[in-house]
Amino acid sequence: MAAGRTLHVRCATWEQVDAFHTRKLRRGKLLSMKVPFQTQNGAQVTLGLELPNGVVVAIDGNVLKASPIEGDSKTWIEVELVGFTEEVLARLRSMAKGAEQIVKPAPAPPPPPPSKPRVATSSNVVEQPSDERALFQQLTGELRRLRQLAVHEVLGVSRDADAETVRVAWMGLVRRHHPDLVARHNAPAITHLAEELTILLNRAYDRLRVALVAEGRATTIGSTLQHPSGWLVGFEDLSSVDGSPVKPRSASGSRPGIQGTPVPAPAAPAVTNANAAPTTPPSNVQGGEAFEARARAMLLEGDANTAQEVLAAALCVYPRSRPLRSLYYVASALAAIYKGEMMLATSQLETALAHYNECNEAATILEEIRKHGHVRVDEIKGIFR
């Protein structure tokens, strides 16, 4: 596999983290382990090191040696963690000290899409473990995984999936995770997890169908469809997809917006090494030009609220498009300017830039605000042409 595999290593305590880089690693870079898949020399792997505080540090590496174990599908591999730099080590150490306040918005290419997009159908209803402890762990893991994904990935469908596919996938997943299915355990913790999972699924479904209607690819799915006006782009996205891999350095420490500090809750943010991502990250995925054109036309007319809605819908379909995302924040900043909330506008513009450094509109308006303390939207509308 060209894109490489992701190996997940969970450290439950800081002692384990310490042990990881002091004892498990040889010569600071080499790690040997048994993995349950076939691989070959030179293959790329990404190591997801999960820290006790829920942060996942992605470290890239190459397989140096791969020796299959006889009579088994497993392989002994030796991995050179090229991404395990001094910087990462320093960050791990400072986090272990508990003094860690990540100053720079760590640019994070979004987590790799699930290796096998599951299209769940009624036939593959997975038996849940009857043991409550195992069930709890399974649900926790699933929840953590889904929280890092874009809406279409949550349902395991492709970005351009049609209404029927979305519905079938959602139904299949709800049939696995609905809290009613675990009600008989009479365990509040398990019911809560199942409910959280179902909330994620339902939100993904609701957003996808809104997006489908906005795109004109569906008229009604289920009952009436009214678009929630201008919801904030997924909170999970905020913390995990910030920063710009294009110019990672320029972002460091210079933007004190809300993106400056990672928000630990509710999503586990994936903090990834800035130097990593040797493979083409999906964050460069563009698209949604039609949406962008529509939104720009609206902004030109000064209709920031509608533009914001259009962009919000677009982001359901193209959650990784940085131009769209930054434009969304610009639109919401304009809406705030109309209401006279300059502080909110400023932070929205800074967010826009944090997402996409080359967002000229945000830079222009922000400069205007910094110079004059206010901005006349009518005068600068031309920049959206």
């Binding site: 009604t220 289920g222 919801w231």
Partner: protein, 522 residues
Amino acid sequence: MKGGRAVGIDLGTSNSVAAVIDKDGRPRILTTAEGATMLPSVVWFTNDGPIIGERARDGLDFSPDTTIFGAKRLLGRRFDHPEIKKLARILPYDLTEAPNGDTWIQLTPGRTISPEEVCALVLRELRTMAEAHFGEPVTRAVITIPAWYDAAQRQATKDAAQIAGLAVLRLLSEPTAAALGHGAHRGANRKYLVCDLGGGTFDCALVDVEGGIFEVLATTGDPFLGGDDVDRAAVENLVRDVRTTKGMDISTDAVAIERLRIAAQRAKHELSSSTSTTLHVPELVQLPSGRNVEYSRALRRDEIELWSSPLLRRLDPPIRGALEQAKRKREDVEDVLLVGGMTRMPAVRREIAKATGREPSALDNPEEVVAVGAALEVARLEGTIEGVLLIDVAARGLSISTSGGDCELVIAQSSVIPTREHRVFGTRADNQARVEFDLWEGESPEADNNRHLGRYAVVDLPEAPAGDVLVLLELTIDTDGTVRLGATELVSGERLQLEQIFHAGLARADVARLARQLAESP
């Protein structure tokens, strides 16, 4: 099973039914002490304490101002709601406004009671029936509610149950319960139209069943159309008939009217199976001389149909409305379920068949099927029935507004629940310590068109310049349709304290106090 037995309850406007699943897996309808399957949802507050059910009906004659029927219509309703204003004019008992704007009932001068407490008395009676059946304590229940109930009405129903000492396992929407009770979960995928014409209300819902998943797509209804209205229409005509045949006006004689009503109701039931019957009232009125006037009259089915025809015409618009809401044609409906005792009336069946363009399915027990559905839901939640999943959508949108501004939609109508959405708002002044906001049910930007659910404040905000503190407010609708709130400070990610300034419905402490009181009373 932990904590006592569970029972399925159809808490109706005029009649309530309780059902359980027996050991052999079959649903069983519980019977009252009088042997009836339906408990009239009537509570008569006498000087010796409340009387519930069939015997409370006598109170309708003797003291209509302390005999409460149809309390379900008042549950969780604001006093200034147009429907309540209409009810206040026609109900024989007095309504009054609670301090928080809810509707309460004025029993006697100086004594008010909330509809929750009235419903709790009915629920407790049903609970007693279930305990007599099991011979064990019953502490949990699935209660059915109309699908269009808003958050306050749902909460009020839960409060009523809590006062009655029942923990609500789930609030189940009536059309879903009807489809479940009909056995839809065992059959093929189907698009149902459920028409529920009971004593007081007509509810209409589209329910899709697909691979064991139930989804309520649209609900409409007429809250003032039911069997009682047909009885009233019959009584009006009979009063006119008495005037022409006997030459006396009994329209102001409450006792005579009530006797006539009971006779008319009986005749109506008989006319569902036969085409003619005899209506007989042995003692209609007593003349000053002490002589009893007897009233007897042959009644044909077409007569009662003629009398109720203006009412029957009102069945069509809600059905049309439901189809329109779901953007369906009537050909898309694959099965029509008739629920509620009134659907036994042939004219009702005809009218619904005309409106839907198909012959409705005949149920053996239209009065009890909802309770059976509730009992099956109990079994489903306990894990005895597998492969069935009920998907619910938010009946109404949720909006919030800050500092008197426009309402902003947060959770759209028809979002699949459980769901969660959030809003971010910033402080407007330096070192602002609290942000107040209002929670509304409804999607209109104008507050007046929405139902006010409560006012809350996010308190103990950190000190910072205006706009630097951003509050992330999370709104969750859980699996039951209950609304929960949570607030986080966006920059630090810390949980913030929420303070409740005002909210609709009973306060938590009152519910607990009332529950204790009721448990202690005989």
